[in-house]
């Protein structure tokens, strides 16, 4: 239920009829939703075979690529919106991919687990890496090669000349605007290129 609410909260940022690129689209649920509910069109990019298969089954366009190899296949400004939902923590070249997102899309939406969420802080204070619903892995077997906070992303966005159109936290599918860095398990940023 909260996953659906999260998806809806993110989808609300995508204008009706947009042309969307979903980087790390998983099984294509988000694109499927955007196509059905918001009249969008677009493509997913995915590396995992099972996810590619799930997208084809759903009838969602999917291109099997390794994001670490860049987005050369996509032209500048060729999408209205580029999504990176829970993709950033898996990328070695997260900053390059953020720039690529801003290059191929007129707007970008990034969502990722906020490491500064208070239960995580508490866990670290107790001397242990957190294991939560949003970060459900042990430190030694996590697929996330990096973790970051809501505030960290603000700094990175600024460094890369991204203009933040909207930023908020999501907790159990609810939008958190007051102290999102501490109060939300998910950080959400909607941005465009400033220059």
């Amino acid at each position: 239920m909260t996953e659906k609410a999260t998806m809806q909260a993110l989808a609300a940022l995508v204008p009706q009829g947009s042309r969307v690129l979903d980087l790390g689209c998983g099984g294509g649920a988000m694109l499927d939703y955007l196509q059905r509910e918001r009249g969008c069109s677009g493509y997913g990019v995915e590396i995992d075979d099972a996810n590619v298969l799930a997208c084809v089954r759903r009838g969602v366009n999917v291109v099997q690529l390794n994001l670490e190899e860049g987005l050369a296949i996509f032209e500048d400004n060729s999408f209205d919106v580029v999504l990176q939902i829970d993709t950033l923590p898996h990328l070695r070249n997260a900053e390059i991919m953020l720039r690529e997102t801003a290059r191929v899309g007129r707007a970008g939406i990034v969502a990722f687990p906020n490491f500064a969420h208070w239960p995580n802080r508490l866990s670290v204070l107790r001397g242990r890496m957190p294991v939560t619903r949003r970060l459900p892995y042990q430190w030694y077997d996590t697929p996330n090669i990096r973790v970051g906070t809501f505030k960290d992303f603000e700094v990175l966005a600024h460094k890369n000349q991204l203009r933040i159109l909207d930023a908020f936290g999501l907790q159990e599918g609810e939008v958190v605007r007051w102290l999102p860095n501490a109060r939300a398990g998910t950080a959400v940023f909607h941005f465009e290129r400033a220059v």
């Binding site: 042309r19 069109s41 493509y43 075979d49 590619v52 298969l53 997208c55 084809v56 089954r57 009838g59 366009n61 999917v62 291109v63 099997q64 690529l65 296949i73 996509f74 032209e75 060729s78």
Partner: protein, 392 residues
């Protein structure tokens, strides 16, 4: 109960103008169909064949157990391209040696076998000829056109030449054109054939001979390029010639001196297993494949280049295509490398077409498109499931 296949033949008396400017007065196409055309005539799938294949795509011939079609793992009842839902049509290309009019047939203008006089045919010509067969079968629009390698080029060409007649195009292990290296391999194969003393300028039929030596070498070269280095090493490694050639010899020893003696120290004999395999494949091929057909088909591969008419701009070339696309490539395919499929994907993306692309991490090289790989067959199957659902 295996699917039973029956070849059919359709003669066309209306001349076909070829891309080269030549005209073929009349011709016959050999084809097979599997499944049933639905009442709306909307479930037809054309399967385009690659270099050495034919219309015999799936099933077996009655009374011949080992006569499976070349894509039998892909096509048939309950298979990824399910003949319970689709009306699948395999068509033998013009100029081939498996039933359609080709160099082995009589040229009505001269009363002689065509031989070297058979006109050069292109991928576009093949597609035109196939479209005429669909007219005869009463099929205005295809649910899909599917092909691998050279067949993938035909599928792409279908989407360009008859955009309104193709709803989906499935292009496997293919490319928008051949690289210089690929043309070079084709050229070596062709030179092997035309320099065979039995070739007689392509009119070897009159001399009652076949340029088998050339065909053997052509096939050996082809075969090497269809496999990956890894698979070849795994399959053959440095193993010596097969045991039957060692008959009467003592079993292999692990004494280094004996092992060195196992060599023949000959530059002419078969020494390694891979040589034996290539010679066997070459011999087999030279028994059934026509030399002129080999020349024609490799030339069609060389010529294919839809971007040429657009100054090399593939995006502009593909603007005409309105079909939905599925592309599949294999990571170890160095003859039709994934990067070549990605060029097609990129051009389709730039035209904002519906396209999906699967890059299958398979070890088998180009041959992977004919083999069983669950991810590959799964993606193609899922894609055809979607097409079937849209029909219902």
């Amino acid at each position: 109960m295996p699917l039973l296949a029956t070849p059919q033949f359709q003669h066309f008396s209306e001349p076909l103008a070829l891309q080269s400017g030549a005209v073929i007065a009349g011709y016959t196409l050999a084809f097979e169909t599997y499944g049933t055309l639905n009442a709306e005539r909307s479930n037809a799938v054309v399967v385009c064949h690659a270099l050495n294949a034919s219309h015999h795509v799936a099933g077996v011939y009655a009374g011949e157990d080992k006569s499976e079609g070349w894509w039998d793992n892909m096509i048939g009842p309950g298979k990824p391209v399910d003949s319970n839902r689709f009306f699948v049509i395999g068509i033998n290309n013009l100029g081939s040696c498996f039933g359609s009019t080709g160099p082995m047939h009589e040229n009505p203008a001269t009363g002689q076998v065509y031989g070297a006089d058979f006109p050069v045919v292109t991928v576009e010509d093949w597609v035109h000829a196939q479209a005429r067969l669909l007219d005869v079968l009463g099929i205005a629009q295809l649910a899909a056109v599917l092909g691998g390698s050279l067949g993938g080029m035909q599928a792409l060409s279908w989407a360009l030449q008859y955009p309104e007649r193709v709803r989906n195009a499935v292009v496997v292990a293919s490319a928008p054109n051949l690289t210089a290296e690929n043309i070079a391999f084709n050229e070596v194969a062709r030179r092997a054939i035309v320099t065979d003393p039995d070739f007689h300028g392509g009119n070897f039929y009159r001399h009652g001979v076949i340029p088998k030596r050339g065909l053997r070498i052509a096939r050996m070269i082809g075969h090497i390029t269809y496999l990956s280095d890894d698979v070849m090493n795994e399959k053959f490694g440095r193993s010596l010639r097969p045991p039957d050639l060692l008959a009467g010899q003592a079993p292999p020893s692990d004494d280094p001196a004996t092992l060195l003696r196992d060599y023949h120290y000959s530059t002419q004999d078969i020494e390694f297993q891979i040589e034996s395999y290539l010679r066997y494949q070459g011999d087999k091929f030279s028994e059934y494949f026509d030399a002129n057909t080999y020349l024609l088909i490799t030339r069609a591969l060389d010529y294919f280049d839809p971007a040429r008419a657009f100054g090399g701009n593939l995006t502009r070339a593909l603007a005409r295509a309105t079909a939905k696309f599925l592309l599949v490539s294999f990571t170890t395919d160095w003859r039709f490398a994934p990067a070549r499929s990605r060029e097609i994907v990129k051009a389709l993306l730039e035209n904002r077409r519906d396209v999906s692309y699967a890059e299958i991490d398979a070890p088998h090289g180009h041959d992977a498109f004919l083999l069983d790989d669950a991810r590959y067959l799964g993606v193609v199957g899922a894609y055809f499931d979607r097409i079937a659902k849209e029909l219902a």
